[in-house]
Symmetry: C2
DNA sequence: CTTCATGCAAATAATTTGCAGTAAG
DNA sequence: CTTACTGCAAATTATTTGCATGAAG
């Protein structure tokens, strides 16, 4: 269980209810977009505004607490910053699973004349449940 | 040189000036967003409207003529449909280069319990020019 | 000719901003 | 206490829609 308050303070951000709620929502969902966060946090904090979510999503990205996952044909989702990993996105049910970025894959991504800093890998296909149905 | 008219007709789309202009703009740029397409095509066709671009981008995506490339923190870009490839995105100058998706990389992406249909790989880092400066 | 595409203007959705009041440290 | 954060309303930007006119086949 991540300690959201510490996470914020380590980045010199005040630990407000709004911020910990947003982080909790992202953490629990795994991958979630702005509107879904809004719906989610409103259950506990009905006055929490969309503007606050927008402002904080930007701020937390800048502080590298959360990461944007841009999606094909829909709004970006956000996830807590974790070790490098790849996304398995089910084209049927929409579920996103995280998977390891294997050392073998990493090796194959070393490319001439390009200094790699960060690999963003999204695999689209069918998850086990949708595949077998 | 791709023949835009044939490309459109093969998909039962009328080959209008607007559509061929949009395709030409995308083709020449390699990767380009809606606003940039608009600026670009207006040079030759000042009456071509943004609404037409939006409508056609959607249509051409549905017909698999063009592909959306969602970007971190900015509007999606579009490219002509090509064989699978990966993107090398320079975090300094923003340039996007295409690179081969090597057979070795492909092999390493075979993952248990997931039926892969399409791999979207964006590598962020520094291109040769920006790296050496 | 017939059908479908375009361009415009209006509608809607998404995101950002400014600022007075409020809470964190 | 002081500074930074929030919520609201307004502003801005992005995208979609309806419809009369025009062009493609």
């Amino acid at each position: 269980m991540t300690d959201y308050i510490t996470l914020l303070k380590n980045n010199d951000l005040k630990a407000t209810i709004q911020r910990t709620s947003i982080l909790k929502s992202i953490d629990q969902a795994g991958h979630i977009n702005i509107d879904e966060i809004y719906e989610d946090v409103r259950e506990q904090h009905p006055t929490l505004s969309l503007a606050t979510i927008y402002k904080n999503i930007i701020l937390m990205q800048q502080n590298n607490i959360i990461i944007e996952v841009p999606m094909n044909g829909e709004k970006s989702k956000y996830e807590l910053k974790k070790d490098d990993h790849i996304h398995l996105i089910c084209q049927n049910c929409g579920k996103i699973q995280d998977a390891q970025l294997s050392p073998r894959t990493q090796e194959t991504l070393i490319i001439e004349n390009f200094t790699l800093r960060n690999a963003q890998i999204n695999l689209y296909g069918y998850c086990q449940v949708c595949h077998t149905n």
